[in-house]
Symmetry: D3
Subunit: 238 residues, 6 copies
């Protein structure tokens, strides 16, 4: 099985980390290709970045000429998921919804811990439209920007502080609310005594699940293929 | 007062119709400038179109060098609204939410009548995140594409047929669910005996209201200005 | 255009303040007439006051013999709105819903700051039935009674203290939850760095908007004209 | 135990029917006094009637000089309930909520069948604010006015037709949505094979229950006694 | 009238306390029989206990050969209620829902105070499916186990501490969230100045109400009698 | 990896079908053991059956002495899931929630098609408490009992008829609402042009996903291990 994993920003080193996380989660026999959009924001931290990212990721998928069995969209809380479902015949799994789906199986309430507070609204909306917001007790920020994240003390401390607030909100499970946090789940989980779900890993498993069951996006409703028409994918003469 | 009205697609004739509708609704002393994105879809009919449109509209706003007091985003159910709120210091009003806000004042339940069934999901999500979905009894399609709409018998018949279903759902007020329907409200309202709200006109009045009260987007939370960073607004060498 | 603004209580000085606020918000060419009910409570602070006020305001509107193009009901959280919509052919806008409608356009979540804690329940119910409660993060009391409000230090301090709690609840926009607070919005907004919406001003703009678009209350459902029947508007021999 | 039952309109014959229904439901040892407001509408059928009725009923309760152990408010979907809870030290039970409370115990979903369609909105709002709307599958009108109701074929037929629609909505229990329907429950229940709950009877039992358990309205929050102030209960010189 | 009251656990002394509480609440002429399951957990404190208890209580009801007019299920937050409604022709009232129904009549928001924190989830789910969760502001634990409860200082102190948090959540009424708390309501209510509802007493009154009105479970939908089939009520050779 | 799959009833032939379905879905290297409860109902079709089944399945899991890496609970809409999560250290996935989780990834709205109408309520409640009810447009019955199901014309016809109603409700994806329907998904999907999700297969993939990611039930809240106490798992001397 071959999975395509799309980063939501133009930072290739982050694509590499995401791909490493995806490969660590993938089953034997699953290969993973990472895609970095050739345009868009260098990190997605807000609504404007998110919409720019959505178009760039869709353009990247549209231009991709290889084969794949499913697509994982690795932008936590970023837009675009439904557009990819229209565009493609293969299953599309977004890491936001994926993490929430698995988290629901592990405890009665889950919380998402993300980077900047400003990302909270997008994540809440994304979980709501994905149909998995009911059991979310909180979406909390650590105050760290996407490009500041690291597997170091400062990141860990900020995460643990947010996790305490998550517990007070009733959360029994945590979700890493940024693709750049991939790899943190074990360190954090050990420290906190709570299951910690990473969206990239979750999405890889859900994508593999759909493919192996022969399931793909319904084309009988809102995700039917885009209508043929004139579309310009970027400013003329850019 | 000067309003900027952004079409969500690249079809200049549609921008003209929208601007005509906006001018008809505007107060004396309000001037209206229409913007047509230089890229994006020729009509927005689905999620992929919507995300592409969002990026193109944000790019258009970003490049705009003139002055304005408020922005009206004239894509019914299309994405991008929150990004424009981040980007700009002036108020931003989207025609989807605007129509719903006024409709709530006119009856206990309202329904939206749009073009293709496939647009329904986006509209529902857009109303929900705008905080005005509670009193919406239905979002219904006429089966007509955006570029098929006209002020003719066929459009009217399709609209009236959908309106009957809207009434059964409990609606007491109708909303025209496409910027391209602007102008239809009077013909339809007379035929149906129900108030019919056009989003472009509604958004113009709400934008004027905010400006004249000195109110603008809160920058204290999720709509703070985008962080400075490297962003590429289109494919390299496009 | 001529707007009728109804105070919800019998205190004429408060009507004057409300009318002053309404006139400050009105467009050139809009005239404003204030109405003070001849009966009811001297201030509305609770459910009993609210129901008494509703009947008195409806009686006042029923007896009004002048012309008007729209009615603004200036009792924050008070009942009666739907009755006036039945009674009248012109649009009716209540300051509670009006403030919330505009607030939704300015930020992702808004909070209402009102007088006594006991008023909170009515306001929540009023926002819910108006269809704009979804994005309300909190309704908070300052502990000041309606007739204690002034444009002085004490009122400001109480408001600012409540505003801090509002921010913690996620609010990015504030709503002044009492007609008697009209005038406070600028002082408070400057101090807090948040947009502050006054219901009277908001309702004036929304009423003007509806009138200028030729929109009025739907008579096709629950707001059809009251059935003809015997009604006694007050105790016999009172 | 002594119960006060307030009609919501000025029609004394309807008070008599309600009192008869209340007495039929009351336990041995419970006495029932009916109160007919001296002012207000002759029947409550819409929002304006409802607000007028609320003030008149509160005035009636305020003037009542006798003793009572609890109050039953017999206007289905009418306003005023929370005001009476402020005003009085004894428990107050409204027939709308009462019927819903008992209906919830008898099946997974209940429906309300009322008089005119225009009453539906008020009933839905009343059930929502009472906290018992979750399991309501529909509120349906029979098309009969309050004063047209009788224990005859026409009323029964209209009720049975509405009941069929109720079943389709998933209802397993029916609620009589008008105090004037009291007495109909047995005839209708036999015909339909569904439990039919009458609000007057339900409210009598709930009022008796609260009294016998020594429970009464909480005065620690929104239902604290009305603040002392000047209130005029009707137009001067009326 | 004869009520059957089922304890949810095998501890006979707790059945006795529950029966004493039920008798104290019952009307003259109502007799109460307590049933202690012959199997199941000695106290129900968690999901596993709750499901085991549900089967044991249903088995107990199934084997009961006496007559009764209604059943009260005295396990707060425990499962089984809907199964008993299928099994029996007489009304079934569960103490969880019963307390909430009466609490809704006494204030705008109620809170439940229970034993261990781990019971909170079950109680929330039980209130939701019963249709009375809307006005619940919080479900809080005291940290005391079911078998640790007593009418002593420690229980009272833990309850009062939880009650303070309940008030902060907006509660105006408290519900005792454990059958073993029966008897505590008066001591606690006096100390707190809030109405305190005991589920056993509430359920007795609601059961009496249904019986005296001739109302019983709808058999027209989900609570139709169980289908005849082979069922083994316990392990073979146990 | 070794999965334990528990049937919810005592019918061994149904366990075999379920195990066959589970094995068909399992990855290479995953072994599947089926467990048939030694007691309980021969088929679970209603609330009483469901509670009896829950206790029997928990007893079966408790007595199981072998090793396993995860448990799949194969009773659609049946109770017990949370009890197994308390009891066990390994992940527990219920087929009801599992099907819904995957369905959410394939379309904007999904519908469940089950056996008898009486099962609908349980399924709705189960999806709600699992946190995945938001995007469910309908739960519909075919009118066929659990033991009447087969891979034949009659079953297929009943399913297809229900599927038409599902589409009208807005569903883009279907869920097989009974473990006994396993195997039907391909025949039905081809006929309808919609993705059809089987809960057994879905649960196998989700269980494998959790195990391979090293994730298991949170023990930090409501699913902590059951407290040690005296429990009798069946009637004495049965």
């Amino acid at each position: 099985m071959h999975l395509l994993v799309t980063n939501c920003n133009t930072t290739a080193s982050m694509t590499e980390e995401i791909v490493a996380g995806a490969r660590a989660a993938a089953s034997p026999g699953t290969t993973v290709t990472g895609l970095t959009p050739a345009w868009g924001p260098e990190s997605a931290e807000g609504w404007l970045d998110s919409y720019l990212s959505a178009a760039a990721v869709l353009d990247t998928l549209r231009r991709y000429e290889g084969q794949c069995d499913a697509v994982v969209m690795a932008g936590f809380g970023e837009h675009g998921r439904e557009g990819a479902r229209e565009l493609l015949g293969v299953p599309v799994v977004d890491i936001t919804e994926a993490a929430a789906h698995l988290a629901c199986l592990l405890g009665r309430r889950y919380a998402v811990i993300t980077t900047l507070d400003r990302a909270r609204g997008q994540i809440e909306d994304s979980l709501h439209t994905a149909g998995v917001f009911t059991n979310c007790s909180a979406v909390l920020g650590t105050g760290l920007g996407v490009l500041e994240l690291g597997d170091d003390e400062r990141t860990l401390d900020a995460f643990v502080a947010a996790a305490e607030r998550a517990k007070e909100s009733g959360a029994e499970v945590l979700v890493l609310g940024c693709a750049g946090m991939t790899g943190l789940q074990r360190a954090v989980g050990d420290k906190l005594g709570l299951p910690v779900v990473d969206g990239v890993a979750a999405a890889v498993k859900l994508a593999e699940s759909l493919v192996s069951l022969g399931l793909t996006t319904s084309k009988a409703g809102g995700y039917a293929a885009p209508l043929p028409k004139r579309r310009l994918w970027g400013p003329p003469g850019a």
